[in-house]
């Protein structure tokens, strides 16, 4: 809240209009407060719950400002001691990172081909890529389930990594294609004159320049892969191989009579911290990637 008030009192707007200024400031202050409360309150309530002792969690009226003796780390300690929660985090990291790398490694060359080399039917391909971006996971899981069964890939991370890479390919291709189109063509021409063939030119000249765009799309791919639920639920049933979303969701289902709110809250916080860090460090790139993918893409 203090942040919001600071902002309200700070100078506003690019084009100052003296008579409107106070009204504008007040409106902006309310706006900022709205954004901050709307986005943070639900998450902060979960953080608070995760640090409260059970008696302070299950009580009416709710405890908003707990006393020191109502606070505890027990839920976190139990989370990592009684369950392989660290393992779930590592599983998610592994699957998401691998899927991201595969999406980039296969998407970047395809994006370059679509941007620069005149492939027949290019427009149709781009349109297909655009439409495919919209498919929800539920449309794909039946067919993939059969493939996973036929290839005996149940409880094998390939059953997650390939679909995640695939789900991220459209966005990767669209964002990188836009990027390649903006690269100066002279650069590649002079590389060709210097005797590079296409692949050499791609790896030595184009790729190093593409790193920022790769990071942008990579972060989006990582977030999508980390958060995916339906494939992870269906294709991986072995306890020790589960990923964060599924493992966390199933804590709630483990007991019918008493729902363990403290542990659930701790699990939601611990399982989302890696993503919170990603957002903190890469906010700008996420915004760039989303807008490039959806608007320019």
């Amino acid at each position: 809240m203090t942040i919001a008030q600071n902002k309200a009192s700070s100078e506003t707007a690019s084009q100052p209009q003296p008579p409107n200024l106070p009204k504008r400031k007040i409106a902006l202050g309310f706006g900022i407060a709205f954004v901050v409360i709307f986005c943070l309150a639900p998450a902060l309530w979960q953080v608070l719950t995760s640090f409260k002792v059970n008696d302070a969690i299950a009580t009416v009226p709710n405890v908003y400002l707990p006393n020191p003796d109502q606070l505890t780390f027990d839920h976190y300690i139990n989370l990592f001691n009684r369950r392989p929660f660290l393992l779930y985090i590592l599983n998610s990291l592994f699957v998401a990172a691998t899927a991201t790398l595969i999406a980039l490694a296969t998407g970047a060359p395809a994006a370059y081909a679509l941007a620069r080399l005149r492939i027949p039917g290019e427009k149709v391909l781009v349109a297909i890529v655009l439409i495919v971006t919209l498919f929800p996971y539920v449309l794909l899981f039946l067919g993939l389930f059969e493939v996973v069964k036929a290839l005996n890939l149940g409880n094998n991370y390939l059953a997650l990594i390939i679909p995640y890479a695939g789900k991220n390919l459209p966005l990767t291709i669209l964002v990188l294609r836009t990027f390649f189109q903006q690269l100066p063509k002279e650069l590649e021409d002079s590389a060709k004159i210097d005797g590079y063939n296409t692949v050499q030119m791609l790896v030595r000249i184009v790729l190093p320049m593409t790193v920022p765009a790769l990071v942008t799309t990579g972060i989006l791919a990582f977030i999508f892969a980390w958060n995916e639920f339906i494939f992870a639920l269906t294709f991986v049933t072995k306890e020790s191989m589960k990923t964060i979303p599924v493992a966390t969701a199933q804590i709630g289902g483990s007991s019918i009579f008493e729902i363990p709110y403290g542990p659930i809250a701790a699990a939601t916080v611990a399982g989302t911290i890696p993503l919170v860090l990603v957002v903190l460090f890469f906010q700008r790139r996420i915004v760039q990637g989303l807008t490039a993918g959806a608007v320019k893409g």
């Binding site: 709307f38 639900p42 449309l139 067919g143 969701a249 906010q283 807008t291």
Partner: protein, 302 residues
């Protein structure tokens, strides 16, 4: 002659560069969708001992008389409509705020996209707790305001459960719409506003005559993306209500998942997937048609 062979070589390289992506595309998208179309013509369930028996369009005929399907379709439509409506409204407000100049705008933008980045399944649990009947914070606030005397049921009541789902979804995905609209806002030249201000237009008039029409393309794109996601909503519902109470929040995707994974009715599940797919394609076609009437560049063609 030489030029021609250079072009051919370029094309070959292009195809080779696209090949790995193409293989993944076929495996992850083309095959599952194609397979769903094919399988939807067969009956393959426990009744046929999971052997596919060709029954033509019987699965589609069955859909007409399937109350649970229509119920789930209705639920999905209600969920999608109200989610999108509220998200668009809040999305515009948030985008307008984030477009202003103020100190620590970076921090507020970071906060603004945070809900979008967090796992839906995990945050569904957070919302389940927020709407808890006994100790939930929503009931506590309503009691504090004197609106209710004692805690009311949220996720156990058909209408209120749907409301809770919509609110959770609005929280989760409004940031996405806001980010897309923000890009639209930033592309509007400032002198448009200045010119209008000289004519004596108020900021609110400016909003309706300049801002809204100019960000309309971004609104359509954001809504299209969100339509597809909301229509396929799965984990939020699974985690928060499981489709209950009594199927009152069951969406099409939950019904598809149950049909396949619980009743092992593969043929019928495939038919349900085909119908959902076709609804999406129609939505894309409509959005594409509207966008073609505006001058925004969706495909990135110059």
């Amino acid at each position: 002659m030489k030029l021609n062979s250079i072009r051919q070589r370029e094309q070959l390289t292009g195809w080779l560069l696209s090949l790995p992506a193409l293989i993944i595309f076929i495996l992850v998208f083309a095959y599952p969708i194609g397979r769903a179309f094919w399988l939807s013509l067969f009956t393959e369930n426990l009744g046929t001992q999971l052997e596919p028996i060709f029954t033509g369009l019987e699965n589609y005929a069955r859909m007409f008389g399937d109350g649970r399907f229509w119920n789930s379709l209705g639920n999905t439509a209600i969920f999608t409509f109200f989610s999108l409506l509220l998200e668009l409204l809040f999305g515009i407000i948030i985008a307008l705020v984030l477009d202003q100049q103020f100190r620590a705008r970076g921090i507020v933008r970071t906060i603004g996209i945070l809900p979008w980045a967090l796992p839906t399944a995990v945050m569904g649990l957070a919302w389940e707790w927020i709407f808890n009947d006994q100790y939930g914070v929503v009931n506590d606030i309503l009691r504090g305001l004197g609106i209710i005397d004692s805690g009311i049921t949220w996720l156990g009541d058909p209408t209120r459960a749907m409301f809770a789902l919509i609110l959770a979804d609005v929280w989760k995905t409004t940031p996405f719409i806001a980010v897309i609209l923000l890009a639209g806002l930033q592309a509007i030249p400032q002198d448009l506003y200045e010119a209008r201000s000289i004519d004596g237009a108020t900021p609110i008039q400016n909003f309706f005559t300049i801002t809204l029409p100019l960000i309309a393309p971004q609104m359509i794109i954001a809504l299209l993306f969100r339509f597809a996601q909301a229509f396929g909503i799965f984990e939020l519902v699974t985690v928060m209500t499981g489709g209950g109470p009594a199927g009152s929040t069951e969406t099409v995707s939950l019904y598809i998942y149950d049909t396949v994974m619980r009743y092992l009715d593969f043929g019928y599940g495939a038919a349900l997937i085909v119908i959902t797919f076709l609804i999406l394609i129609i939505a894309v076609a409509i959005a594409g048609f509207i966008l073609s009437k505006t001058d925004v560049n969706v495909t990135g063609e110059q």
